[in-house]
Symmetry: C2
Subunit: 265 residues, 2 copies
C-alpha cells in the first residue's frame, strides 16, 4: 500500500530566518482506468481506494449501472492502473465510450438536455433539521485528517440524517465523491434518501454526480456556481452551501431542511 502522504524536506522561510523542515505533502498519482481491455481515462488522484474510485467514476459517467455490471476489478497500485471487466452487455459500447470522452473532457455540457435531467431527477421525501446539518458538518470537519496535515485534499462523506456512513478524501473534489459512490456500489450501501457533504465548491458536475445515485441533499462548506444552483433546482436536489458554524445558505428545495419557528433550533 502506498501512503497517501509523503515526508519531504522543505525550506521554511519565516521572520526568524530560513531553515530546512520536514513536512507532509499529499501524494498525487496518475491512475489509468482500463475498461474491458481498453484504456479509458487517466485520473490524477490520491493513491487510496482505487477500486472505489474506478467503480464510482464508471458509475458517474453512466458506464455501469451497479455492482452486477462489474465482473472483475484488478488494482495495480504501484503502476497506477485499474482494470475493470464488465458483463457482456456493456462491452464495446461505442456510444458509451463516445459519451465518456465528451463528458470526461467537456464535463457534461452535452448532458443538459431536458430528457437527461428528467431521467436522473431525484424523488425523495427525506428531510433533516438544520441543527442536524450543522452537527454532521462538525463531524465531517473532525474527520478531515489529511487536510489538516497537508492542506492539499478534498473530503466527501455520505450521511444519513444522524451520522457519517462513508467518508473519503482525495486531491480532486470529483474523485473524493466518486470514491464514496464506488464504495457504496461495491458494499451495497444505499444512497437514496441520504446526504452528501463535500469540502469543495459546487459546480455543475458535482450536482450530476450526486443526483444520478438519487442523493437528495448536497451540503458544502464552500460556494456554489450559478449553474450548480440551476441544476440543483432542475434535478430536485436540496443544495446547502457556506455552512460555517451555525450558519448556512439554502439555495434550492429548502423544504428538506426543517427549522422550528423559522429558526434552526
Amino acid at each position: 500500500m502506498i501512503d497517501r502522504v509523503e515526508k519531504l524536506t522543505v525550506e521554511r522561510v519565516t521572520r526568524e530566518g530560513r531553515r530546512d523542515n520536514e513536512e507532509l505533502i499529499t501524494r498525487e498519482l496518475p491512475v489509468t482506468i482500463i475498461l474491458n481491455d481498453r484504456e479509458l481515462v487517466t485520473l490524477l488522484c490520491s493513491p487510496s481506494d482505487l477500486n472505489y474510485l474506478a467503480v464510482g467514476f464508471l458509475s458517474s459517467e453512466g458506464l455501469i449501472k451497479g455492482k452486477n455490471d462489474v465482473r472483475k476489478i484488478i488494482v495495480d497500485q504501484q503502476r497506477g492502473v485499474v482494470r475493470v471487466q464488465t458483463g457482456d452487455s456493456l462491452k464495446d459500447n461505442e456510444l458509451l465510450f463516445k459519451r465518456l470522452i465528451t463528458s470526461g473532457c467537456g464535463r457534461g455540457a452535452s448532458f443538459y438536455s431536458p430528457a437527461d435531467v428528467e431521467q436522473v431527477r431525484v424523488q425523495s421525501a427525506t428531510t433533516v433539521p438544520a441543527a442536524g446539518v450543522f452537527s454532521l458538518v462538525r463531524e465531517f470537519q473532525h474527520r478531515s485528517e489529511i487536510y489538516r496535515a497537508t492542506g492539499g485534499v478534498h473530503s466527501a462523506a455520505l450521511c444519513d440524517t444522524r451520522s457519517i456512513l462513508v467518508f473519503n478524501e482525495d486531491i480532486g473534489r470529483h474523485n473524493a465523491i466518486d470514491k464514496i459512490l464506488g464504495e457504496c456500489i461495491l458494499k451495497d450501501i444505499p444512497t437514496a434518501d441520504r446526504i452528501m457533504i463535500t469540502s469543495g465548491r459546487i459546480s455543475s458536475e458535482i450536482l450530476l454526480k450526486v443526483a444520478r445515485p438519487g442523493i437528495p441533499i448536497l451540503v458544502s462548506k464552500s460556494a456554489p456556481t450559478t449553474l450548480g444552483v440551476k441544476l440543483a433546482a432542475d434535478l430536485g436536489v436540496t443544495l446547502v452551501g457556506f455552512v460555517r458554524g451555525e450558519r448556512m445558505n439554502i439555495y434550492t428545495n429548502g423544504w428538506r431542511i426543517t427549522t422550528s419557528n423559522g429558526t434552526s433550533e
Copy 2:
C-alpha cells in the same frame, strides 16, 4: 457582456432564524472551443475573457505555439462558443488532436517522458527576494475581488519581481492560469523570467502549464502535491507554497528566492 456574478435569492439560516437574502453567486458557463471547425473541448468556466481562455488552453495543450498561429478568433459569449482558426500548418493534425484528448481527459499522464520534460525545462537566472514574494502575494489578495464577493473562484496573476502585470479569475484554477497565458500571447506580454501566483493547489498539470511558457517561479497560498513538487524539480521551476503573511515554504530550486543572512528581510 455576461456578468461574472449573478444575484440570487437564498434562504439564509442563522441562530436568529431563517430569512430570504439576496446573494452574489459566481456564474458558471460551459464554453466549447471549436478549432478549425472541429469541436475540441467544452470547459466549465467563468464567462469572461473567453478569447484569452481559448488561446491559453490551446497553448497549454501544445496546439498552438504563439500568436502567429492564431488566424481568427470568434467569441459567441451568449452561446458559449469560441471558434479559433489557425494557420494551415496546424490544421487537421491528428496527432495533436489525439494528444489533446489524452491530455484533456487524462490530464497529461502520457506527458511525463524524460524527453518531454527536457523540452519544456525552464532556463532562467531570475531571482526575487522573499520580501518581494510576500509583497506580491499581499497585492494578489487585494485584487481577488470576486472571491471576496462570492467565495467561488480562483485567481491567478503574472508578475515581475515588483508588481502584478496580468490578473484574472475563474471558477477553475486551470482556467484562471490559461486566461493569463492567453492574454500574454495575444498582447505580446513576455512570460519568461516572470512569476505566476495562483490561489489554487499545485498539482502536476499546473506545473506543466507554467513551465511550458518558461515561467521560472510559481507561488501559491495553497499546498502542492508530491507530483507537483517532483515536476517542479524536473522542470527547473522554483515552487513556493503556503504563503501566509510573512511565511512560506520553498519546495524546489530555492536559489531563486533570496534572503539576506538567511532571513527574509
